[in-house]
Every structure is written in structure tokens, then in C-alpha cells.
């Protein structure tokens, strides 16, 4: 999907290189074949089909069918997808959701990583508590948040609000996007924390201690030593999360169903394909989503690629 090779140059000759003989090279190629062929098929076949449909009028409910042949409509689906009144709101929703979740998970992730790196009692146990949400399946997280926490009558938040004499909030209607951001952040905070914690632990403590002895205040030490050290891990967290967040689905599917301003680009495409059965339009939307994901992916690949050379 992404054409990266040129800027990366050849793989540095590793120590394993010496092993390679001509015979083992051809064996290696055969061993690699199944994985490469499968992934190539998995990538190309659906992608070509999506591209094909995106240039066609394809409304199965109105009698269009593959057998009778589909009408070629050029870029009509592409322009219609963009000019539809739900396109820009969906882009806006997507950006707010992804941006919101990134901001929350990165900031709190750094705080938590710094905290968990300090000496304390029961560190292993706290780590387990913090990481747990990552292993909860998305449909469970979404339903637990929707009902047990955010239900306007019986949810924990409603109990809390009433306890303090406030009117309970119908979270998923009145603060729908914020609620989704909170829920998704809860799911991804463990991931950010874990990676930032791993990076924090490789920090050179001598340097920090030296800075402390020189009387550098905490904030300065954080800003000039810790943050630059974490920069790469933060970038990785942002890129990987962005790719996963762009395709958040189940969380919206079981909570709002795309209503109340929570229709992201992914969900809009899903509705075009599944609900309104407009395959051509949905496919054009799919191509936009693929392009969007690739813009992020290129940056991620650049970092991962550089890392391979080290």
C-alpha cells in the first residue's frame, strides 16, 4: 500500500549476513512466500474491489447487480461523498475524537509513567490495575460505560451527581462526543502508560541526579531531560494510536449508533455501505479513509524503518 523503499537504503549488513549462502537464500525465499503471498492477496484484492466499486453506481436495493453489470460513473461518488452534508461534520468529529483521546492519553500517560517509575509499595499490583482496561474487549467497555457508569438514572455518575445535589446528566446524549472520548481514552491510557513507562525506565538516572545536585528545579529537569528522552516514545504512541483511533467502531456501534454528533468518518462509511446500501458511495468514502490512514502511516513507517537500521 505504501511505497517506502527508496528513502531507506539497503539493510545494514548484520552479523547474521555471514550465514547466508546461495542455497540458503533460495530456501529463505520459499520460506517467506506464504506470508508474503497471503498478505499481498489480503491487501490487493479488497483494495482493487473497493477502487472498482468507487467508480460505479451500485445500489443493490434499487436493482443494481454485479451480474447485469454496473454503470461507470467516474468520480461522481467521490464528489458526492465530499459534498454530502454529513461529510465535513464527520471529519470534524473524527478529528476531535482522535485529538481528544491523544491529548488525554499522552498527558496522563506521561504523568502515570513518571509516577509508576517512583519507588513505592505494591508497584506490580498498581501496574496490573492500570493496564487492565486494555484487555477488556471494546464491546464490553462500551456497554459497561454506557450502562453501569453513564446511565442517567441508575449509573454510578448519576448516583454521584445526586449525592452532591446536582441533576444527573444524560451523558451519551448531551455530552455524547465527550463521553466517547472518555471511554476510548480509558481503553488506550494503559497502552500509552506502558510504552512511556518502558521508555522512562531506560532514562539515565545519573544525569537526572547530577541535574538535581546542580539545583535544577523539578519542572526544569522534566522539561530539559525527561521530556526529550521520551520524545520518540511519545511520537510512537501518537502514531500507533492514531491509526487505531481512526478506525474506532464498536464503541460507537453499541453506544450512540452514530447519533448525537458521534458519527466519525469510519462510522459514516459503515452506514453508507450497511444501512443505506450505497456501495459505490461507501467505497469512495473507503478510499478517502485509506488515504487518510496512509498519511499517518508514512510517518510511522519512517520512524520504525530508521529503528531497523540501528
Amino acid at each position: 500500500m505504501i511505497f517506502v523503499p527508496s528513502w531507506m537504503g539497503p539493510l545494514s549488513a548484520g552479523k547474521h549476513h555471514a550465514m547466508a549462502t546461495k542455497a540458503s537464500r533460495s530456501t529463505a525465499r520459499i520460506m517467506m512466500a506464504p506470508a508474503v503471498v497471503l498478505l499481498l492477496g489480503w491487501m490487493l484484492v479488497p483494495l482493487i474491489m473497493t477502487l472498482y466499486f468507487s467508480f460505479k453506481r451500485y445500489l443493490p436495493l434499487r436493482g443494481d447487480s454485479l451480474e447485469r453489470g454496473l454503470e461507470w460513473v467516474g468520480f461522481t461518488n467521490y464528489s458526492r461523498f465530499i459534498s454530502s452534508s454529513s461529510f465535513w461534520p464527520s471529519i470534524q468529529t473524527t478529528l476531535i475524537m482522535v485529538g481528544g483521546v491523544l491529548l488525554i492519553t499522552v498527558v496522563f500517560g506521561i504523568v502515570l509513567a513518571m509516577l509508576l517509575d517512583q519507588p513505592m509499595w505494591g508497584q506490580g499490583f498498581v501496574r496490573i490495575l492500570v493496564i487492565a482496561p486494555f484487555f477488556v474487549m471494546p464491546t464490553v467497555s462500551a456497554l459497561v460505560w454506557k450502562n453501569m457508569l453513564m446511565d442517567p438514572v441508575n449509573g454510578i455518575f448519576a448516583h454521584l451527581w445526586r449525592f452532591f445535589g446536582a441533576e444527573p446528566v444524560a451523558w451519551l446524549q448531551d455530552a455524547s462526543l465527550g463521553s466517547i472520548i472518555a471511554l476510548v481514552s480509558w481503553q488506550w491510557l494503559p497502552f500509552a502508560t506502558l510504552i512511556l513507562l518502558t521508555a522512562t525506565q531506560s532514562l539515565d538516572t545519573e544525569q537526572l541526579e547530577a541535574a538535581e545536585m546542580d539545583g535544577a528545579p523539578v519542572l526544569k529537569r522534566f522539561w530539559y531531560i525527561v521530556l526529550p528522552h521520551l520524545a520518540r516514545a511519545i511520537t510512537i504512541v501518537i502514531l500507533i494510536q492514531t491509526i487505531f483511533l481512526l478506525s474506532v467502531f464498536a464503541e460507537i456501534f453499541v453506544t450512540t449508533g452514530g447519533a448525537f454528533g458521534t458519527r466519525t468518518l469510519t462510522y459514516l462509511i459503515f452506514q453508507r455501505v450497511v444501512d443505506s446500501q450505497n456501495i459505490g458511495l461507501g467505497s469512495a468514502g473507503g478510499v478517502y479513509a485509506i488515504i487518510l490512514a496512509n498519511i499517518v502511516a508514512i510517518f510511522l513507517m519512517r520512524i520504525v524503518g530508521k529503528n531497523l537500521d540501528e
Binding site: 500500500m1 539493510l11 547474521h16 517512583q118 453501569m148 497502552f191 478506525s247 520504525v304 524503518g305
Partner: protein, 276 residues
């Protein structure tokens, strides 16, 4: 004096960390707790913490009404099957890339990774169409293959990073002792690779277990795993908090436990070796 300050600091960090940890864990704790209440107690105001009559009836009801075991079994088969398939395809590939690298190795690795970035919704219709065409809709084998393919890049990548860590000197020593290629693989390399393979399998089992796009869109009644089973609770009838909690607890418990063993692999598997 210095020691007292240190202890004091330790107490403060401990309290802060435990508080935050418990808040983050609370939704899970609350779900597990509620699963042992009756429906009336589940919505009691104020919320009941430990002073209620513990009951297991919700678990019985969930099993009876919606045949939980069937969905559990589907999840096990689909997640397990896709992991085994993925590992079988990935081992030779990762092996050859780690031990016989060519100038293309890096490009291939990165390209594999890039297939992971393909947004699922972009290819939803084509995949559904192919599933209909090949009679795979609502089958476990179909889902097994799809989940294997979406996780294959991660499996190859993780195995590659593990295999690369196997020191070349050991291989050389084995050769000096006259080991043949076959012996080299079975007696020298395999034992060293097994922990890496196990970790990779574990993480991918978890990812497949929790996958909730294809499992929701490609299954109906027969092959639906736990993700879809839980989603059926999104349109409730009457009081259902306790039953929802029991169903949720059963769906997440196996993986929550496995997950605690896989913390380290998580970083390696999802950052593609870029954070160490």
C-alpha cells in the same frame, strides 16, 4: 533525616499511585461486583458495595438464556485458530528474514506492517462479498482466516525481533561441533525460539479475542464470538445491569488473566521494536 524524607516520599507516591490505579480499575471492579447482585440491588441508590446478598444466579441465567458456552467456544476456536495459523505462516518468514537477511528484508517488513494500516471499513463490502461468494459468512473458519490476516504483520514482526536476539555465536559453536542444518534447527535454534513464539502467540490470542469490527460484521448467530454476544446486550429489556455484568465478566475474565502475563510483549508487539 534523609531517610525519613525518602520514606515520606515513598508513602505519598504509594498513596497517589494506588488511588489512580483503583480509579482506573473501578469500572472493571464495579462490573465484577455487580454481577453478584440481584437486579434490584444492582440499581440500588445509594450503590451497594459489599453489603448485599451475594448470588450466582446471574451467571446461571446468562448461560441458560443466551447459551454463553457456545459464544465462548466460538471465541476460543476463532482466536486460537487464527493464532495457530498465523504462527505457522509467520515462523518460516520471520526465520528467514532474521537469519538470511537480504537487501529486501527491511522493505518487506515495513510493507507487511503497512498492510496493518488499511482501515477495515474501507474494505468492508469487498470482504463481505467474498465471504458470500465462498460461503464463509457466519462461519468460524472464515473469521479465523480474516483475523489471522489482520494480525499476521504483528506476528511476523514480533517473531522477527525475537529471532534476531538469538546469538549467532551459538550457531557457530554448534557448527564447529559438527551439527547439521537439521540438527541446528531442532536442537539449537528451536529451544531458544520457543519463549518468543509463546509470547507472540499469547499477545495475538488476546488481540484476536478482542477484535470487534470483523467479528461484529461477518457473523450472525452460528459463529458469533463473545464480542458479538455482548453487543446483543446493547438493546436491553427491563432490568439487566446484573446480567450484563455477569456476561461481561465472563467475556473478559479469560483474557484479563492472560493479559497480565503479556505486559512486556504488549510493548514489543505493538511498537514494532521502536520502543525498548
Amino acid at each position: 533525616m534523609a531517610r525519613a524524607v525518602k520514606t515520606q516520599r515513598r508513602i505519598i507516591t504509594t498513596i497517589a499511585a494506588w488511588t489512580i490505579g483503583l480509579i482506573i480499575f473501578f469500572p472493571i471492579f464495579w462490573t465484577i461486583l455487580t454481577s453478584f447482585k440481584t437486579e434490584a440491588q444492582a440499581i440500588n441508590d445509594p450503590p451497594l458495595f459489599f453489603t448485599f446478598d451475594w448470588t450466582l444466579e446471574n451467571y446461571a441465567i446468562v448461560q441458560e438464556r443466551s447459551d454463553y458456552m457456545k459464544f465462548l467456544w466460538n471465541s476460543v476456536i476463532i482466536a486460537g485458530g487464527s493464532t495457530v495459523l498465523g504462527i505457522l505462516v509467520a515462523i518460516p518468514a520471520a526465520w528467514s528474514m532474521a537469519f538470511v537477511p537480504s537487501k529486501w528484508t527491511k522493505d518487506i517488513l515495513l510493507w507487511m506492517l503497512s498492510t496493518k494500516m488499511l482501515p477495515a471499513v474501507g474494505v468492508l463490502y469487498p470482504i463481505s462479498l467474498l465471504f458470500v461468494e465462498f460461503n464463509l459468512l457466519d462461519t468460524r473458519s472464515g473469521l479465523m482466516v480474516v483475523l489471522m490476516l489482520i494480525n499476521l504483520p504483528i506476528i511476523v514482526w514480533m517473531l522477527f525481533t525475537y529471532f534476531k536476539e538469538i546469538p549467532y555465536e551459538i550457531l557457530e559453536a554448534a557448527r564447529m561441533d559438527g551439527a547439521k542444518f537439521k540438527e541446528e534447527i531442532f536442537y539449537v535454534l528451536t529451544p531458544m525460539a520457543i519463549p518468543g513464539i509463546a509470547s507472540t502467540a499469547l499477545l495475538n490470542f488476546i488481540l484476536a479475542w478482542n477484535e470487534a469490527f470483523w467479528t461484529l460484521n461477518l457473523t450472525a448467530a452460528k459463529a458469533a464470538p463473545l464480542t458479538a454476544f455482548i453487543a446483543s446486550y446493547s438493546s436491553p429489556e427491563g432490568l439487566f445491569f446484573a446480567k450484563l455484568s455477569a456476561a461481561s465478566t465472563m467475556a473478559i475474565a479469560p483474557v484479563l488473566i492472560l493479559g497480565w502475563f503479556s505486559q512486556k510483549q504488549l510493548v514489543r508487539g505493538l511498537t514494532f521494536g521502536a520502543v525498548k
